[in-house]
């Protein structure tokens, strides 16, 4: 390996490490409630249901439940719209919206299904 090869490889790998360090944070769109509070725009908070306390208000088509984010903080999620299928049995939930007045107003909910790959007992 010539000196030129070594220098080029050094430059390439330094650049790769620089990219890895700088951009890894932007690889995930999910933030914690703490970050959501300080952000003005729409954010995505990922977490798990903190209890089986999903309240549905039919008159306003509103869904209210508490979500515990990956950092362990809990907050109230308020979502207007149709209740996603199997919300109670999800492994985790992503709420997309904004944090305001001590609650998280979600425009959209994404659901992570549990990946068990085991035969359904109902059938």
């Amino acid at each position: 390996m010539t000196k030129q090869h070594t220098i080029s490889l050094f430059i390439i790998f330094s650049f790769l490490i620089f990219c890895a360090v700088t951009y890894t944070h932007s690889l995930s769109p999910y933030v914690s409630f703490a970050e959501a509070r300080t952000t003005k725009g729409t954010v995505q908070v990922k977490g798990t249901l903190s209890a089986d306390n999903i309240a549905y208000l039919p008159e306003s088509n509103q869904l209210r439940f508490r979500l515990r984010d990956d950092a362990g903080e809990e907050a109230l999620i308020v979502y207007t719209g149709t209740k996603p299928e199997g919300l109670e049995h999800t492994a985790s939930i992503v709420a997309i919206g904004r944090y305001q007045n001590n609650q998280f107003a979600a425009d959209k909910l994404l659901i992570k299904c549990p990946s068990k790959y085991q035969r359904s007992v109902n059938r």
Binding site: I12, L16, A20, T24, L27, S28, P29, Y30, Q44, K46, D70, P84, G86, H89, S92, V94, K108, L109, L110, I111, K112, C113, P114, S115, K116, Y117, Q118, R119, S120, V121, R123
Partner: protein, 227 residues
Amino acid sequence: MLNHRISNIITALAAVGVIYAVFFIVPPVEGLGEKVRIVFFHIPAAWISVMAFVLSALWALRYLNTHQIEYDRKSATAAGLGFFFCLLATISGALFAKITWGAYWNWDPRQTTIFILLLLYGASFALRTAIHDIDQRAKISSAYSLLSIVVMPFLVFVIPRYYSSLHPSPVINSAAKIAMDPVMLYTLIAALLVASALFRQLFIYYIERTRRRDLAQKDSPEGGGRL
């Protein structure tokens, strides 16, 4: 050529068998229900693309050692097929995401990394078409293929496991055990074998085509006999 036709027929029959098993034998599962069937297309596509990228890098290395243009052909063909299977994995993944999460695309870490992987290998084709000299093209794209293989494991295996994601956990879990219903597991293994056979058939077909094209170019007055 006759052998290739026979293996084409065997691959097609095996594919029909696996598709039948996926839709009529595999049971619905807890949580995912009937949606689980897409897994048998999505996982093999992703695995084959990784295998193709590894093969591409191995042939690239052999080209750099031997300077035999045949290895460059193999490396480029494997990278092209890897890109195609990666695209299939991305599309089937997006469909799977829509029916489970509720959105086709959410820039989830898994989706972001596969997008970067597609860009990485997509750029290699742009690079190849930009260089007309056969030896120069082979040398540069071999080096590119080797650099890509350094990045690929991070994009496929490391980063998606580091971040929390909506993507289901890998089939082989952190305890290195496969928690899967036996019928599903056998079907998945069969699907992987059929996908590998499909890769092999496509690979042979495209290698033969490229070889013929290169020979025609060599014989033409502009070809310059560089092979």
